[in-house]
Symmetry: C2
Subunit: 239 residues, 2 copies
């Protein structure tokens, strides 16, 4: 907004500052859940129940952060009544924190499986694929947040592309886990727990992909949810 009224300028600068601050808090929350996912996977692979317990107890902090940032969003909407790209930013942040909170939930679920697996004996798989998929989706969360910080649409598209890759890796990991169950029914319980952990990781990838889509909505004003990746790229090229 161009204005020569110094008071209006002042208010506008203050508003920009509030928007930057809420975005910074969202990215901070993002860093926190990314760490939660990595720690949960690490606790499982390294059979470290203490680390898993820490992930479960930190989930409360993640939840509280979501409520706080969401309150900030409502307050900005009520007091500043933003329009156009400012409004889109607040709405995108409000949606992104809900995905981040759910990523935190999935990390806590993995940590709970990890605790039981440490107690009852590990899955016979050696967690090779789980570790790989865990690294992959933690990287996606990181990249989606980076894309948000820099408003980088290319990076956001890259995250959306990786999600279909993760889905393939997940399908293949599930099939190989099933063979362990068929070979030895005594491991069914532990393999099932690993499957739940894998399923949670696959959902983390979905949420990272959602965040990437908000970046595209934010930059292009284009709602790309529910599009196939090829259609998405086509729509962006038309713009």
């Amino acid at each position: 907004m161009v204005t020569h009224d110094s008071n209006t300028q002042h208010i506008s600068a203050q508003f920009d500052h509030e928007l930057e601050e809420i975005k910074a808090r969202m990215l901070e929350m993002g860093g926190m859940v990314e760490q939660q996912v990595s720690s949960a996977v690490h606790s499982l692979v390294e059979k470290d129940p203490d680390q898993a317990e820490r992930v479960v107890s930190r989930d409360h902090d993640v939840n509280m952060l979501e409520v706080e940032i969401d309150d900030d969003c409502s307050r900005i909407l009520a007091r500043r009544q933003p329009t156009a790209s400012d409004l889109r930013l607040v709405l995108a942040i409000s949606k992104a924190i809900s995905d981040l909170e759910r990523i935190g939930d999935e990390a806590a679920k993995i940590a709970r499986q990890s605790i039981t697996l440490c107690e009852e004996g590990a899955s016979p798989s050696g967690y090779v694929e789980l570790r790989h998929i865990g690294n992959h989706v933690a990287g996606m969360v990181h990249d989606a947040l980076d894309a948000f910080a820099r408003l980088d649409v290319d990076m956001a598209i890259q995250v959306a592309k990786e999600d279909s890759q993760v889905d393939k890796e997940y399908g293949s990991a599930m099939r190989s886990l099933m063979t362990y169950m068929v070979e030895d029914p005594r491991v069914i319980g532990s393999v099932l727990k690993e499957m739940w952990a894998l399923r949670a990781l696959e959902r983390v990838g979905d949420h990272a992909c959602n965040i990437a889509e908000y970046v595209i909505y934010l930059v292009k004003g284009l709602d790309v949810r529910h599009l196939e990746i090829s259609d998405l790229i086509a729509q962006l090229e038309e713009k």
Copy 2:
């Protein structure tokens, strides 16, 4: 807002009408996903792959409805700049449709498992518990939407209470399914598919519970996410 300016009154009446309309569309979307959940469960229990195919293909309509209503919410925020309870209503609708869309996704997942189970042979469980949990969570979606329509906090609390009941039923169903796997490894594949369907139903219950929480937020201005049900009731009694 009390005003004697007929022009302002006119705008205000029009705004109320817009709010009622967006709420009606959200409830219509809710009815659609409730039906999707029931049809998906029915297709599985009755081994009806055609019905399951219809659920999968209707998921696209649910997704489009979310995008449309979300656009309406953004437009109202930008043009009407609502505050206080009007703002809370728009934000609650915007969150609720995201849960409804995810309920639709879960219904489509159940329908996909149903199609494969019809092709490859049913699970040996007879789907007794799945049918029961399916009815339970479809009822929760219905009640959460009813609570939203009437702004009925007591009904919303009831939905939140039922969610912990569903979690128990889910845990018991999973344990009984595991015994089928242990007894006969040949059924592992089909039982796993039933487990995925059950997991999806459990998540439908979670989303219904989220919607119930938005009703409380809407009526009481109180964010009750992440509270245990007993703490929730205690907090409401303090108000």
